[in-house]
Symmetry: C2
Subunit: 151 residues, 2 copies
DNA sequence: GATAAAGCCTGTAGTAACTAGAGACTCAAG
DNA sequence: CTTGAGTCTCTAGTTACTACAGGCTTTATC
């Protein structure tokens, strides 16, 4: 890792980037990373371009972009002269998702906060949270879990 | 569903509770719901107690409790005379998780908001988000995705 | 050079919480 | 009786990893 042309095996890459060895192989398998050259013994050998790409993937994942969204971003970065308008569309949609998730979690937080506070006096024979969970028409709890994600 | 002793098949239960048929069967399989009696033809027949229990499960799920946490809550509700202190421990831990997730999402939101705003002028040849993702030491992006969840 | 431990490989399966068929049996209405 | 809807079990898939198992390679030490 001293010069632009030196190659390193997956273990050092994992240590350098903080990305699990198996996750690196996973990213290769799903196409986010190109398969690197191999040593005569079959070990993967990564160069600087691979490191940069893995960094990109990790950062995008840390922002909550799905694997497919990361794939789209990489494609835009690789193939477009002026990708910004299209990148913005992807990012703005994702920002909307993040905000919706925050709103969901906020609603949960509020209900949990209230019921934990009511349970604080651990002496009553009935439990406000359990009673609320059994109540069919409780207005303070949303009726269904929400699952959001598209690949 | 008119009297305490009348039983209904899974379809009407699904419609009544808004819970997918297959999800009801899933909950039975993982032990959250007891296996109901069957018609001579093998159809599941649910009574009122089942309905109440499914409502409990759904509401707990909508608050983000994991299947295992729901299992714990059900056990506390079923077996304890005064469950509230223990329920509170479960709920408070979960509240902490919810708050941590909100904090994570807030950090993502902030970064996304900034970069979407920078991309707003869709005319530059370089894209601030893409550049940021490629940058190894960017201080505004957390270094790794976080996964949290225990069964 | 020999040896042992660590590193790496591929393949398989598992995690959590669902969700979607496929093929076959049951039920209700016409 | 027929037909279409409902329900059954079983298997597999979704998303993003994660954890072996068994076997080959590399490295460090003697």
């Amino acid at each position: 890792m001293k010069t632009a042309s030196s190659l390193v095996a997956i273990g050092p890459v994992s240590k350098r980037t903080g990305c699990n060895i198996e996750t690196i192989r996973y990213y290769e398998r799903v196409g986010l990373l190109q398969a690197p050259v191999r040593s005569p013994g079959g070990y993967r050998l990564y160069g600087n371009q691979h490191l940069k790409r893995l960094t990109f993937v990790r950062r995008a994942r840390s922002l909550g972009f799905s694997i497919d969204e990361v794939r789209t971003l990489l494609k835009l970065a690789d193939e477009r002269k002026r990708p910004c308008a299209e990148v913005r569309v992807v990012a703005a949609a994702h920002l909307g998702d993040v905000r919706a998730k925050i709103a969901d979690l906020r609603a949960m937080e509020r209900v949990l906060d209230e019921t934990v506070a009511k349970c604080a006096n651990g002496k009553q024979s009935d439990c406000p949270l359990i009673e609320a969970l059994y109540r069919e028409d409780s207005p303070s709890i949303p009726p269904s879990p929400r699952r959001r994600r598209k690949g």
